[in-house]
């Protein structure tokens, strides 16, 4: 993710671990991006619910739909990884549970995002037009 810290802030080096602000910023930036993306997804869900297989493939053949869906998946998985990470850190206090759950969260998010984005691109590139 692009760094939105100012040079002055970086140079001063304030803050405990020096990278907490990155997590905070990425949560906010992904939130803002997800406002239009999820509203578009809600509308698209209504369209796709009655489209059938051929209709869904044709829908993904359009570059705007394919790109917005890839962005929704990428930003969505980033946001949900950051969000569940905080939940785990808040409620699990033994080292082993916490570590295992944080790792599981990361792996589920990376695997889910990779599978979904690859699938979308496969259909989008394969559909032609």
């Amino acid at each position: 993710m692009v760094s939105y810290r100012s040079s002055l802030s970086r140079a001063r080096g304030l803050g405990s671990a020096k990278h907490g602000v990155g997590h905070w910023l990425s949560e906010r930036l992904t939130s803002i991006a997800l406002i239009p993306l999820t509203l578009w997804a809600l509308w698209s869900g209504l369209v796709l619910a009655r489209a059938g297989y051929a209709g869904a493939v044709a829908w993904l053949a359009g570059p705007v739909n394919a790109v917005l869906l890839v962005l929704l998946l990428a930003v969505g998985f980033l946001h949900m990884h950051a969000g569940l990470r905080v939940v785990v850190e808040d409620y699990f206090h033994t080292k082993l549970n916490k570590g295992a759950l944080l790792l599981l969260n990361l792996f589920v998010c990376v695997l889910g995002a990779a599978l979904a984005i690859f699938s979308v691109l496969k259909v989008a590139f394969g559909a032609g037009i």
Binding site: I32, L34, I35, L39, R50, L84, H93, L115, A116, V123
Partner: protein, 149 residues
């Protein structure tokens, strides 16, 4: 003093809790020590809907994988989503999405430094709940009218 979390009893937790023992310090989440109020309810609901949407995005990923796997896999996933249980899950996810959206906007406004007065926070919380309920009904009415149901 209310209930303390079950996992706050170990030796490590006792060490963390200081000289007065684990009873002295309520650990998050403080569901049992505070009187319920609207802003607290919205905060918990925002987190709960976020966790629900975790499942929702995994369902979207499964949908994409099924579409890329061919008509049979796609028919299977769409059949599951179109069943009564599937529709209930999607109804819950619609509400979760809209509430988490409104809750997220409240958080962004707070991050900008506005909306902290108790009355304002109560009002924005009530607005978020109303937006999610009305929005869910509107989306499902639209789905019914367009034949998506």
């Amino acid at each position: 003093m209310g209930q303390i979390r079950a996992d706050a009893q170990g030796p490590e937790a006792q060490k963390r809790a200081g000289p007065r023992g684990p009873e002295a310090r309520p650990m998050s989440p403080h569901l049992s020590v505070w009187r319920w109020h609207l802003t607290m309810f919205c905060s918990i609901l925002n987190r709960a809907t976020g966790i629900a949407l975790y499942g929702g995005l995994l369902i979207l990923a499964a949908w994409a994988v099924a579409l890329a796997s061919g008509p049979d896999a796609y028919a299977l996933v769409m059949g599951l989503l179109g069943s009564l249980l599937g529709k209930l899950v999607l109804l819950g996810l619609t509400f979760s999405l809209l509430f988490h959206l409104a809750g997220g906007i409240r958080h962004l406004v707070w991050d900008a430094g506005y909306g902290y007065a108790p009355k304002t926070a109560d009002m924005s919380g009530a607005a978020a709940v109303a937006f999610a309920v009305v929005g869910t009904l509107a989306v499902w009415a639209l789905a019914w009218m367009t034949g998506a149901l």
